[in-house]
Point group: D2
Chain length 282, copies 4
């Protein structure tokens, strides 16, 4: 398959935006393979994702032309080349189901990325990470060592050229300083249907409340705990026959699927964040 | 079909409970059509539902025998005859989708009840109620008239011999005095996936938070708002393309289905409440 | 809300189609409220739906201009005005759940249509139809009377100005002659997950096969039984505890929801058929 | 946790079956942790699963007593000790997602088994199998070598003491001779919602038919292709935007989850087959 480019745009809504982008691409002879747009009428915003083949396409000239048009129209935009393969790091603690799922899918070709680095605050993930060819580092975190551990994490991320961090049931809270280094580039999975059961031990809280469905949520990490823009959520039915350990077991399947979908969409440049929400171009 | 009896039991768990109940029923020659039991190992509780045909069955003698055995074993129990058809009242405001669904299902034979009475704080439901043969009363509620309106509601319920009240998107909060008159006999539907988005305007709150699924919850009404034992919940997927009005529209389908399932199970004596939770014998 | 126009296009895929349509609309000052397009790369086809406000828009001039451009680009197209409110007839037999759902939703405002006519081969639906203000005609069908009944049905449809027929669990098979009169304008619901369990008594067949989910399918009617383009499908979980009558009861909820979604989408001009498949612009 | 015993019973329905089993267990002082029963009224059959703690329980004496009672009551029965850990073999071809899921879950403790053996007709699974400590054998199958390959498979299964075979997207059809050696002990996953799309390339067939949901089915293998008793099914929504490769990708998640649930239930002795159907005690 030819390599493609993806243009992600968001801007105040006005007439002629689609015409403007589509016409410019047509002028350059682009062979568009996917295009989707969205208007948030309430917020007065416009969002667009367009993907086209790069063969026989003068990307440099287009980019210059487009930049000036975008400035005119108050567009924020990102131009991504699918020939660039992002480098992703996974943070993990002792539960390995999300990590195992991500590494297997990456091998299967579901994810447009490489995963050179896995960091754990426990050593449990070492064999799995190494089996899949990722470097593994164990950096235990205690209140005393947290600052030092984060400094080392940042050093490893930087050394490995990582641009996206996935918290695959990583049971430590990152500091604002860390988060600010990777804005909209840290994806977490929370083991509840947010905003229900924020914080620790959500399955226990769900069991106590007697809910009939449990959920999981993947989201971008912001400084407010479990409050970042939601990317994906899913639920599964439970009954009175399910004890807490059954919730935990059933929840594992949700966690890995909502996290993997979030990662896949991020890597395919299908997500546009705005305010505390996301547009997912599917 | 023969008429049947249903026995609902809950008690501290101990050895021999199933044997005890099953043997007594066998001694009386019961033809059991359904039986289910549940143990909550953590709470040390036992729950049982058993249904059997009443033809050639000496119910009076059985009941006396069972009562003494139940006392011995610390059982709380209810014996229900399916030949008794409960009388149900529906409370409604201006949204009629839950009411329409309940009335239609009742006509179809899904619900083991009659619905002699519909009460609204607006008059919108009058034609629909009357089309289905229910008496309709409009009792507007304002802070000033609330006490008087509730008194009139109670009088109507009593006059109609109602034993179960269904709040079918009834937009008023009942007073504790009212609720105490119908313990575990008022079923409400809340238009969110509880415990997320308690209180007013949950679809607006869900839209603001940017969730990817919306839900609805049916529950028994207790004095704590939206906090009673959950009977049923369901969710539907939404996307960035859905505006608040789409959430409201999609939510309507959830509301009516979770409310109708709750009502059906209650009427078939499939629900046992304990603490703030429910066992649903399906 | 302003009234809007919807343009539905399908044609061989080529470069510049979006630019072409979007630019022409922009030239006429259209305020686009929704736009979506789809490419079937395998079939080499392009599909587009665009909706815009008609206030201050010169529709006549646009239409003429667009028609010539469309001819150039080999486009098949339909231009629909949302100010036109389609007239829909419902065909029904003895099961009324789909009819009740459609009539209630129509009243609620979910459907962009009027429903002047309900035709049954039994009389069961008469009160419900009349309660909702629709004319009801009972036209029994036997092998001997079928031709005459269809002639009468066609006459009634024509007299009522009906442009869409919905088979709401109508248990008669229409003749090819009838179907040809309403190409892509008859929507049926089949009570199975097609293509499983084509034909009569699908719940009995599903029960015999021991499936763990049952389904329902809404589709356009073509001359091949249960083989027309699928519009919507849904399923619900069943278990060994469910007897055939439980399947039938649970299935009713599926039937009405897949049929109502199909009707809603058709009326909002969100469906484009091609070959034996559909594109649903959501 | 104490080890437990599981008794699985099926027999013609008659009065007193629950009383009979429960009383005998009570006489032996059994501490029952789970019990469930089911009646198929149409077929006149009774099914029961009961699990109890073995501490201070005289299993030998109970078994003798129960056997004579069972003979009296025409019961077929199996008594399983959870201290016995079944040995399972996985057959696989080139798609590894089901295998990876099973091996990971086994490691996590989801499955009550060991997996000493993986057999592939291709060598792709070798590293994954060995990483999880399973022996791997590659036995290519062609029409000419099929008989020899099956003989070797049977030899390996026997040598490894395997009592359950899981076909984890194994793309060869087993001979009747092979299947007869493992009656109700071969579990397969078919990548469609059976009985739709039996046979080869179901995702392509689903794509051609234009379905709106795709499914997967796990079932016991019988001599009729894709026709054995269904254990579990699930579906996922697709749209016109999904090409065949998207169906294949989305289907992978279904395949692994329906296969893993089937395996888990089998290993916990929760499945009773009868005719071509299954009872799943959950």
């Amino acid at each position: 398959m030819d390599t493609t480019a993806v243009l992600l745009i968001d801007c105040p809504d006005r007439k002629g935006l689609v015409a403007s982008v589509a016409s410019l691409l047509y002028d350059y002879g682009a062979n568009i393979t996917h295009a989707d747009q969205h208007q948030d009428h309430e917020a007065g915003l416009f969002f667009m994702r367009v993907e086209w083949a790069l063969r026989d396409f003068d990307l440099g000239a287009f980019k210059a032309d487009f930049a000036s048009k975008a400035a005119e129209l108050d567009m924020r935009w990102q131009l991504k080349l699918m020939s660039d393969v992002p480098r992703v790091a996974i943070f993990v603690s002792q539960y390995l189901h999300c990590l195992a799922d991500i590494l297997h899918r990456q091998q299967t070709g579901d994810f447009h990325c490489t995963i050179p680095l896995v960091i754990g605050n426990h050593s449990d993930a070492a064999p799995l990470a190494r089996f899949h060819g990722a470097e593994f580092h164990c950096l235990p975190v205690t209140p005393e060592t947290k600052a030092r551990a984060e400094a080392e994490q940042l050093r490893l991320l930087s050394a490995a050229g990582v641009e996206l961090v996935v918290l695959a049931r990583y049971m430590q809270i990152l500091t604002p300083q860390f988060i600010q280094r990777y804005p909209s580039r840290i994806i977490n999975v929370h083991h509840s249907f947010l905003p229900a059961f924020i914080g620790a031990r959500p399955y226990h809280a769900a069991f106590q409340r007697g809910v009939k469905l449990i959920g999981a949520t993947s989201h971008y990490v912001t400084e407010a705990l479990d409050d970042g823009p939601i990317i994906e959520q899913d639920v599964v039915r439970i009954s009175h026959r399910d004890q807490v350990e059954d919730l935990i077991r059933k929840g594992r399947d949700l966690e890995r699927s909502v996290l993997s979908r979030a990662l896949m969409w991020h890597l395919e440049h299908r997500i546009l964040g705005y305010g505390n929400k996301t547009v997912i171009f599917d």
